[in-house]
Structure formats: structure tokens, C-alpha cells
Amino acid sequence: MVIANHINKAFLEKQVLRDVSFHIKEGERVGIIGVNGSGKTTLMQILMGVLLADSGYVRVAGEKSWERQGKRKTRIGFVSPRQSNLHPDRTVEDSVNLCKKMYPKAWKVSESDLESIDYVKECLKIKDIWKEIRSSLSLGERMRAEFLYAVMMNPHLLIMDEPTTGMDYEMRTREYECLDYFRKCHKDMPVTVLLVTHSIQEMEWLCDRVIAIHHGQIIFDGALEYLQQRYLSLGKICFEIEEGALHFHDMPINKYEMDGKRVQIIFDKRYVSANIILQQLMEEAVIKKIRVLDMDMETMIRNLYQENQSPSSKP
């Protein structure tokens, strides 16, 4: 679906993208993470054809991405808090109808198409912002309207740049459900999704593949699980001792902390798995309120970046 080889881009002699190459297949869901200013927005704009890469080869669904947009067949949906598809002083209804008219052949008016749109409308509670003028909407409300607009054109490729900023938790989950539902009812031609985000939960929830960009270079490109194993090797078990004493010297763990009854064990998942330690603990004492967690995602990302200050290391 998307082919990008050796893309380079420089703004006023500041190299923003260095030799970026990746391929995305039809229907894949890819997440892109990176620090502010790491070049991920520039990459988005190149894929959309808004920006021209200095060098490198970019194809979206077989077409040159910066083709005169009049002649382009592929439809790209774009959702971003900084830029808007909707017209500033028009109601949401007008803008969305305009979108429908702009892509007449997008909808084969099959049963599942219309149904998916109604589902999205109902799920994101679009009814109460349907008649509002865009300039009077709050950020969260506007993002819902943007999402509907992008979905409305039945895009081949859906690029989302932090689509849930300004939304509360409940609305975020609704949007994810919409995306899942929208993909399910398009079995024949599933939508490829490119999600740029800072929040890891979003990544976990939606994407099955992750590309990490740091200082304009791709430093990780692979499945999310692999990323977790590779960079999140430390696990944490915390529990309370009901009775019996524990001596941790002979256990295969990195370190432990005891304050009163609460104990916290940090172990390395690459050498030992949680259940073995649990078995040992259970045999020696009766323990309650057991928690087995990974170290939080932020530390994972931090390790990823620290390790990759040097030139890019592909898995």
C-alpha cells in the first residue's frame, strides 16, 4: 500500500528525515511514535503529498504521492488537531455533505457502508454537534467531526495525527470502537491506518506494528510485542506477606524492597518468567494482593531512545 525508500528531507539546512524506508501492506495498522520534532509530522506530510521529499521514492497505492490532486485515485483521510478538513464558518453537516459530494464514487452504497457511517455518527454522539459551526466547537468536539469527515470519504489510507487530543477517556474508547467497527465491515477492502501518537495505551489498543522515529531516523520497525520484549525486559511483582518469612537470596531476581508487609520484587523477564517466581513464593509463604506488572511504558520508550542515540540499529 505505502512504499517509501530512502526518504531524505531538510528544512533550512536542518536535516529532518535521514534515509527513512518502510513498507506498509494493505489493511495494516501501523503506529508511529516519536518525540516532538522528531520528524514524524513531516513524514506524514510527505506521504500525503503535501510536502516533497528531497530525495527518495514514495508511492501510495501505486501512485506518486505529490500527483496533482485532481487526477489522484487513492483517497487519503487525514485527522489532526492542527489542521482541519472542515470549513471554519460552516456547520459540521455542511462540511460532511460536501465531503460526500466530493467523493461520489467512494460509496458503492452497499448496505454495510451506510450502516458503518450511522454507527460512527451514533457512537461519537455527532448528533449534538451536527448543527454547530466549526468555530464554536471545542477541541474534543472538533476532533470527533474530523474523524467522521475522514471516515466519510471511505479512504484507502487513513492518517491520524494524535486523533484523540482534547477528548476525555470515554470518548477516546468510543473512537477506537468506531475504528474497529469501520474496519470490520469493510472486509473486502480494509482501511490501512497510520496512527501518530504519544500515548502508548492507544498504540497497544489499535496498532499491531510500531515504527519509532528519533531525530529523523527510524530506530525501530516491528511488532509491538517484539518491542516490549526487546526493551521492556524488567517485570515487577508486588504482594503482601500474610504469614511465613521469605528469604530472597536464592531467588533469580534483580532486587527487592520490603516495607512492613508490602514487598516489591523486580526481575528480568528474559531470564526467568513470572510464574516460576510465583510458584516459589507460594510454596514458602501465604501471600495476598498479588500484582504482576510490566514496568510502565514510558520507561520502555526511554530505554528505546537511550539505546539508539547511536546510528539506527534495525532489529
Binding site: 516532538n36 471545542s138 482534547g166 495476598k288 498479588i290 504482576v292
Partner: protein, 346 residues
């Protein structure tokens, strides 16, 4: 009436008594002509008898879904809005009545909108603030030095706001809001749009400033990790009413029961049946991964783990407590709270 309260450890800084506020919203009818002449208004209760007290030095998280009355309450605290019912006391002053005195010792930071002058350098804006808040020269220099260390202002002090990145602008905004040593700092979604590292820095700044200057911080946000990392106390507002007011741990005690265990390995049905028989347990299976949801009040995690251990072919186990988001979402829905009104835990 100043609250002298020696017996209370720290002075009550903010006291709110059955605060209320209503909005008139113009109903927009369909037909063009009818709108011009007939103007119907419907009254929407934005905030409904809100009561709470905030002591000095506390960091309070103020959360709620969009349109729950969150920003309305904050506006009334800062004196931007006059309350329709009830009173607000900030350091003994009514912000609604004497806005200027109240403005002298509060700092406000808006996440999405900057208060700095757009095209003059940050250094000059801070200088202007010195004149505006009549900060004595000595404290001004002292604060300037302190904050430029903590917030790392040195690198972009001379740049106009136009050329700053989002993270830098946020740091400049914070510096500008606390230059005059305010007693209370209101933060309106300070970490929106920032990436993980800058978020962490910002949280670090707020924590450090709270420790050093004992500034009371009131934080409204959608990002639960802000709350977990910063706030000692949480207030949840929904449809204009405060439905929870207490510490984070108590919130988890009261409402964070739904724990879950994820285990990867090879499973056979007989084994799964045994687990299902346990009270309040639900099991979902995806190929080699099973997810067990259970209520920690009814059954403890070690019983389930004990059963799980019998099956040798497990390769990984994770035991999660409920995420803060999940808990609060449950709070909105759960009927039990609605009956006994505000659930107060100290």
C-alpha cells in the same frame, strides 16, 4: 473572616460553600425566519451545590468528562465568573467581588492558549510581569534565577514566543505564572499535546515548585498519568455535581475492585471450567491467551493464581489492577454513588 485554625495542620486556602451556576443556551430552531424574532432560552445547570476545602500545599486533581462544569468551577475560583448561588473564599477574599486583590496571589496557566506577548522575547515578558505584579527587585532576581534553573529557560530566554516549541512555550507560561510567588496555581490541561519526556519534565517542575514554595496546585486534565504522578487528592465532577472527593488510594480502595489476570500458555476446557466456578470470575480466551476478570473483594488473586499454577505450560502471567480511567468511568456509571450524594473520604 480569615480561617486562623491553628489546630488544622495547614491553613485552609480555598473554601467553597454550595456553589451553583446556570447558563442560558439559545435554542437554535430550524427555520431561518423564526430564529430572528423568537429567542427561546433554556437554562442548563452547569454547576450544582459544590462544596469542598483545599488546604495549603495540596496538589488537587480536578477531573470530569467534557462539559461537566469543570472549567466553570475553576473560572469561579479565579474570579472570572460570578457564582449564581453559594460563596467562594480564596484566602478569605471573595474572588468574584474583589478580583484584582485575588489576582495578586494566584497564577493561571492555560494548556492550549498562551498568555505571553506573541512577538516579544520571553525575557521582556517576564520583565513586564515584574512591573505588573509590583514584584520587589530582590525577589524578582531570586525567582528569575531559581526558575531558569528548574525550568531551563536559559536556552530560549531571548527568543520571541513565536519561535518556541510547544514544550518551551509551556515552560515559559509556567515561569510567567509563578514569578510573583502565588499561593495558588491553576493549571488547565498543561500537558496537552506534549510528548512523554516533556510531560515528565513539566510534572517534575510542578512537583518541585510545590515542594519549594508550598504553592497549592489545582490541576484539570484528561491525562490520568498526570493525576497518578502528581496529585495527592482527586475531585471528580459529573453533570455539575462533585461525585468523589478524596485521596487517590482511597479511590482505588473504594472502586478499584475489577482486577484482571492475563496468562499465556496452552489451556484445556476442563481447567477453564474450574476457574469459572469461582465467584464473580469471567474468562475470555483468544488462541493461547486467556483474560480473567474478577472482583478482588469477592475472591483474592492468590486463589486464582494457585489454580493457575497447576497448569505447567504457562509462559507468562500479568496481574493488573484497574486503570484509573476505568475506575473513574465506572464512577460515572455506578448508580450506588448517586443515591447517597457526595461520597466524601478523608
Amino acid at each position: 473572616m480569615e480561617e486562623k485554625g491553628e489546630e488544622i495542620l495547614n491553613r485552609t486556602v480555598i473554601r467553597v460553600e454550595n456553589l451553583g451556576k446556570d447558563y442560558q443556551i439559545r435554542k437554535r430552531t430550524e427555520r431561518f425566519w423564526k430564529d430572528i424574532f423568537s429567542r427561546q432560552y433554556e437554562v442548563k445547570k452547569a454547576v450544582e451545590d459544590v462544596n469542598f476545602e483545599i488546604a495549603e500545599g495540596e496538589i488537587v486533581g480536578y477531573i470530569g468528562p467534557n462539559g461537566a462544569g469543570k472549567s466553570t468551577t475553576i473560572k469561579m475560583l479565579t474570579g472570572i465568573l460570578q457564582p449564581d448561588r453559594g460563596q467562594v473564599f480564596v484566602n478569605g477574599i471573595q474572588p468574584g467581588k474583589c478580583r484584582v486583590d485575588n489576582a495578586k496571589n494566584i497564577g493561571v496557566v492555560f494548556g492550549q492558549r498562551t498568555q505571553l506577548w506573541w512577538d516579544i522575547p520571553v525575557k521582556d515578558t517576564l520583565h513586564l510581569m515584574k512591573h505588573m505584579y509590583h514584584i520587589p527587585e530582590q525577589t524578582y532576581q531570586e525567582n528569575l534565577k531559581l526558575y531558569s534553573d528548574i525550568l531551563g529557560l536559559g536556552e530560549f530566554m531571548h527568543l520571541p514566543v513565536r519561535q518556541l516549541s510547544l514544550g518551551q512555550r509551556m515552560r515559559a507560561d509556567i515561569a510567567c505564572a509563578i514569578l510573583h510567588n502565588p499561593q495558588i496555581l491553576y493549571l488547565d490541561e498543561p500537558t496537552i499535546g506534549l510528548d512523554i519526556f516533556v510531560k515528565e519534565n513539566v510534572r517534575g517542575f510542578i512537583h518541585e515548585i510545590n515542594q519549594k514554595k508550598r504553592t497549592t496546585v489545582i490541576l484539570t486534565t484528561h491525562d490520568m498519568s498526570d493525576i497518578e504522578k502528581l496529585c495527592s487528592r482527586v475531585m471528580v465532577i459529573d453533570q455539575g455535581r462533585i461525585i468523589y472527593d478524596g485521596s487517590l488510594l482511597d479511590l482505588r480502595e473504594q472502586y478499584g475492585h475489577m482486577e484482571s489476570i492475563e496468562a499465556k500458555g496452552v489451556w484445556d476446557d476442563v481447567f477453564l471450567e474450574e476457574i469459572k466456578r469461582l465467584p464473580s470470575v469471567s474468562v475470555t480466551q483468544e488462541e493461547n491467551q486467556i483474560m480473567i476478570q474478577y472482583d478482588s473483594r469477592k475472591v483474592d488473586s492468590d486463589k486464582i493464581l494457585f489454580l493457575l499454577m497447576k497448569n505447567q505450560r504457562i509462559c507468562d502471567i500479568k496481574v493488573h489492577e484497574q486503570s484509573l480511567d476505568g475506575i473513574i468511568k465506572q464512577l460515572y456509571v455506578c448508580k450506588e454513588v448517586r443515591e447517597n450524594g457526595i461520597f466524601r473520604v478523608y
